[in-house]
C-alpha cells in the first residue's frame, strides 16, 4: 500500500470536512441550514445505499427516520437530555437496535416485497404516532433548544454549530462505512447483489448480510431523523409518511451505490430543487419536483456516483 498522501481516504475526508466547515463561515445562514438538512437526509440515503449494495431497497426508511427523530425528541422533552451530539449518538444506537429486532422479519424477502414490507412497517408506525395524543398526535411537538457540552449557543451561531457537529459526525461515519464496504462482509454484500445462490453455495449467508445491512441502515436513518428533528426544532408523524420515504429512495437512486459523497450531493440537490420550486412555483411545485425526479432517473440512471467514478477513472487514465 504505497499510496500517496492525497490518495489516502482519511486524508481526503478530513480535508473535505475542514473545507466544508470553513465554507460554512462564508455562506449565508439559510444555506448552512439547508446543508445540515441535506446531511440528515443524506444519512438516511446512505443507509439505503448500504442496503442497495446487498441488492435490497427499502421504501420505508421513514420508519427509522421517525424512530430516530422521536427518540431524540422524547429524550429532549421527557428526560431533559439536550446535548445534540449525545442525542444523535443515542438515536443512532437505539434505532440500530430496533432495526436489528425487525431485520429478521424483513431479511427473508427480496426485491419489491422487501420494499413494500418496509413501507408497510413505516405506515404502521405512522398509524401509531398519530394516535398517541401524549406526544402531540398528528401535530407533533417542539424540541427544546440543543446544547453542546452543556453550553447553549446563542441563536445566531446555533445553526452553524449544529452544521459543524453534523459534518464531523457524518464524516467519520462515512469513513467507517467506506471501510465496511471494502471489508469482507461488505464485499459479500456486492456478491449477494450479483447472485445470491452462489454466495450461499460458497458458504456465506445472504440472510446475515441482509440483517447486518438493515441494522446499519436503521442506525443511519435514526441518526438522520434525530439530526433533522434537532435542526428544525420540531417533529411530527410526517417523518414516517410514505412520501418522506419516497424522497430517501430518490436520493439514493440519484446518487447510485458507488460513492458515499454522492449521496450528500444528491440530498442537497433534492433539497434545493424542492425549496426553490416551492418558493417560485408555490402552486405547481409538485409538478416541478415530479418532473425533476423522472428526468434525473431517465438521464442519470446509475446515479451521480457512477459519474464520479467515471470521472476519476478518466483522470487517472489521462495521467
Amino acid at each position: 500500500m504505497s499510496e500517496k498522501l492525497y490518495n489516502n481516504l482519511l486524508f481526503q475526508s478530513i480535508f473535505l470536512m475542514s473545507f466544508l466547515i470553513l465554507v460554512g463561515l462564508l455562506i449565508p445562514n439559510w444555506l448552512v441550514f439547508v446543508i445540515t438538512k441535506a446531511i440528515a437526509y443524506g444519512l438516511v440515503g446512505l443507509g439505503i445505499i448500504t442496503l442497495m449494495r446487498g441488492g435490497l431497497v427499502s421504501f420505508g426508511q421513514g420508519f427509522v427516520f421517525g424512530i430516530g427523530g422521536y427518540t431524540a425528541g422524547l429524550l429532549g422533552t421527557q428526560a431533559g437530555l439536550t446535548d445534540a451530539m449525545l442525542l444523535l449518538f443515542v438515536s443512532f444506537l437505539f434505532t440500530g437496535l430496533v432495526g436489528l429486532i425487525i431485520a429478521p422479519l424483513l431479511a427473508r424477502y427480496r426485491d419489491i416485497f422487501f420494499a413494500m414490507l418496509s413501507l408497510a412497517f413505516s405506515m404502521v408506525l405512522y398509524g401509531i404516532l398519530i394516535k398517541i395524543d401524549a406526544i402531540g398526535g398528528s401535530d407533533g411537538f417542539v424540541l427544546p433548544e440543543s446544547t453542546y457540552f452543556g453550553i447553549k449557543p446563542s441563536s445566531e451561531y446555533a445553526d452553524y454549530i449544529l452544521y459543524v457537529v453534523a459534518i464531523i459526525m457524518t464524516g467519520f461515519i462515512s469513513i467507517l462505512l467506506r471501510y465496511y464496504y471494502d471489508s469482507t462482509p461488505g464485499l459479500i454484500a456486492l456478491a449477494v447483489r450479483e447472485n445470491e445462490l452462489r454466495v450461499e453455495y460458497l458458504g456465506s449467508s445472504a440472510f446475515n448480510v441482509a440483517v447486518l445491512n438493515f441494522t446499519i441502515a436503521a442506525g443511519l436513518g435514526g441518526m438522520g431523523g434525530a439530526l433533522n428533528g434537532i435542526a428544525l426544532g420540531h417533529i411530527d408523524p410526517e417523518f414516517t409518511y410514505w412520501t418522506t420515504s419516497g424522497e430517501f429512495v430518490f436520493i439514493s437512486i440519484l446518487a447510485g451505490y458507488l460513492s458515499v459523497p454522492a449521496v450528500f450531493l444528491a440530498a442537497l440537490l433534492l433539497e434545493l430543487v424542492r425549496s426553490f420550486s416551492g418558493r417560485y412555483f408555490p402552486d405547481t411545485w409538485q409538478l416541478i419536483l415530479g418532473l425533476f425526479l423522472i428526468l434525473s432517473i431517465i438521464f442519470i440512471p446509475s446515479g451521480i456516483g457512477s459519474f464520479f467514478k467515471q470521472f476519476f477513472d478518466r483522470l487517472k487514465k489521462s495521467k
Partner: protein, 433 residues
C-alpha cells in the same frame, strides 16, 4: 458519448442552481414591505381554506397598493410602503413548515410572515419565530393553546381561537329552545376536532347539566367516506349532532348524509360550516345551525367596511366571501394598523420588528367582521364578536342564513389570563353578554 452527455447535464444543473442563487441575492435591497404569506395551495385544505383566503389576500394587497381601500385603511400599502407578497404552500406537515419559515426569514429576508391555517403549524412556528426574531401573524388557525401554554414576543394572532365557536353554538341552542337532552359528535381525529368537541360538549353540559352524550366519533381526517359514521349517528338517536368537519370532509359528509335523512331527523350543528356554502350552493341542507368562526360571509355585520369588502370580492371572483378571505384580510388589516401606529411613533421611518411588535400589542382595529381586540395572551391574541345562524331557503329557493344571533366578543371569549377550557368548566365567570 454517454459520459459527456452526463457531464453536460450535471454542469448545466449546477449552473442553473447558481443562477438561481444570484437571482435571489439580487432580490435583496428592497424598499417596500416584503410579506411572506403561508397558506394551503395544494392538498385537501387548499380548496376550502388556502385558496379563497389567498384570493382575498391577493385582492386586498392589490387594492392597498393602489390605495383603493376605504378609511381607515386608505393609506397606500403599509404606511406608504408597497407590499410585495411571497406566497408559500402550507402543505407537508409542521416540520416542513418550520423549514419553509426559515427560508422565508433567512433567505428571502421578509419583513413579516402572515399565515397558517393548520393548528399543528401554529403550534410549531412560534418558537422558531421568536428564536429568529421574525414578526409573525397567525391569521386563521384555531387552537387556543398557542398563547395559553406559552408566550411569544414576535407572534400575534389576529383572529379569535376556536373556543368561541363552540361556546356560542351551545348558547344559541339553548336560547332558541332546541332540545339538547342528548348530543352526539363527529369530529376529525386531531387537535382541532378533539378540542372543538370538548369545548362544545362541556359547554352544553354546563348550560344544561341533564343532557347526555350519546356518541363521540373521531374519523380520520380526509377520509371522505362517512357511510358507517352516518349509520352510527342515526342509530344513537341523539337530538343534536355536532361537527367541526371542514373542507372536502364536510362537503362529503353533507352529500352522503343528506339523502339518508340525517338532517331531517336530527338537529345538526356545524361549528365552521359556512365556508363550503359558496361551493355547495343549494345542495346545502336546510335547518342546520352553523357558525363561521366570526361574523363573516352571510353573517357579516351591516357596516360600510363589510359592504365594501363583500362587493369587491364578489366582483372579482363571482362568489361571496366565506370565512377564509375575511380572516386573511383581518390579519393584513391588523398588521397594517400596527405598522402605521409604529410609524406614527418613530416619525414615519420604516419601523423595525420590535417597534411593530410593540405597536401590535393590545391593538384594536375595525375589520369587515367587526371590532378586533388583541386582548388575550397579554395583547397577542385577538377576540372578536361572533354570530350563529340557521340555514333556510329564501323565497327564490336559494339557501341562506336566518335567525342570526350576535354575541359580544367578551360574551363568548374568556378574559385575559384564564384558559378557555378552565373558563368553560367554571361556567363562564365574568362573561359580558
Amino acid at each position: 458519448m454517454n459520459f459527456f452527455r452526463q457531464c453536460l447535464i450535471l454542469i448545466s444543473s449546477i449552473l442553473i442552481s447558481l443562477l438561481t442563487f444570484v437571482g435571489i441575492s439580487n432580490a435583496d435591497g428592497h424598499k417596500g414591505f416584503k410579506l411572506g404569506v403561508v397558506t394551503f395551495l395544494s392538498g385537501p385544505a387548499a380548496e376550502p381554506f388556502g385558496v379563497p383566503a389567498w384570493n382575498g389576500g391577493k385582492l386586498f394587497i392589490k387594492l392597498l397598493n393602489e390605495g383603493k381601500v376605504p378609511a381607515p385603511y386608505n393609506k397606500k400599502g403599509f404606511g406608504g410602503m408597497k407590499i410585495t407578497a411571497i406566497p408559500i404552500d402550507e402543505s407537508g406537515g409542521a416540520t416542513k413548515q418550520v423549514q419553509e419559515f426559515r427560508n422565508l426569514v433567512q433567505r428571502d429576508k421578509v419583513d413579516a410572515v402572515l399565515g397558517y391555517v393548520s393548528s399543528g403549524d401554529c403550534m410549531a412556528i412560534p418558537s422558531v419565530a421568536d428564536e429568529l426574531k421574525a414578526l409573525t401573524v397567525l391569521y386563521d388557525c384555531g387552537t387556543p393553546r398557542v398563547f395559553e401554554d406559552a408566550s411569544y414576543k414576535y407572534v400575534f394572532r389576529t383572529a379569535a381561537h376556536a373556543a368561541m365557536d363552540n361556546i356560542a353554538i351551545a348558547k344559541y341552542l339553548i336560547e332558541k329552545g332546541h332540545d339538547i337532552s342528548s348530543i352526539a359528535g363527529i369530529n376529525q381525529n386531531y387537535a382541532w376536532g378533539k378540542d372543538s368537541w370538548k369545548d362544545f360538549s362541556v359547554s352544553v353540559k354546563k348550560l344544561s347539566p341533564s343532557s347526555e352524550i350519546k356518541n363521540e366519533l373521531f374519523p380520520k381526517i380526509f377520509s371522505g367516506q362517512y357511510g358507517t359514521e352516518i349509520s352510527a349517528l342515526m342509530n344513537s338517536k341523539a337530538k343534536v349532532v355536532h361537527s367541526s368537519l371542514w373542507g372536502g370532509d364536510l362537503q362529503s359528509f353533507i352529500l352522503q348524509a343528506k339523502p339518508r335523512g340525517l338532517f331531517k331527523r336530527t338537529q345538526v350543528v356545524f361549528s365552521a360550516g359556512d365556508h363550503v356554502m359558496p361551493g355547495l350552493g343549494n345542495k346545502y341542507p336546510e335547518g342546520v345551525i352553523l357558525g363561521a368562526r366570526g361574523q363573516y360571509g352571510m353573517m357579516a355585520p351591516d357596516t360600510e367596511l363589510n359592504k365594501w369588502f363583500y362587493k369587491s370580492y364578489m366582483d372579482e371572483y363571482g362568489v361571496f366571501p366565506a370565512q377564509p378571505p375575511y380572516r386573511m384580510v383581518q390579519g393584513l388589516m391588523g398588521l397594517k394598523m400596527a405598522i402605521e401606529k409604529a410609524m406614527e411613533k418613530n416619525g414615519g421611518k420604516k419601523p423595525n420588528k420590535d417597534e411593530i411588535a410593540a405597536a401590535f400589542k393590545g391593538l384594536e382595529f375595525d375589520s369587515p367582521g367587526g371590532l378586533v381586540q388583541m386582548k388575550l395572551g397579554d395583547g397577542h391574541q385577538a377576540i372578536q364578536p361572533h354570530a350563529i345562524g340557521t340555514t333556510a331557503k329564501d323565497k327564490d329557493g336559494n339557501i341562506t342564513v336566518t335567525d342570526i344571533v350576535r354575541y359580544k366578543a367578551s360574551c363568548v371569549n374568556p378574559p385575559n389570563g384564564i384558559k378557555a377550557v378552565d373558563w368553560i368548566n367554571a361556567g363562564f365567570p365574568g362573561a359580558d353578554c
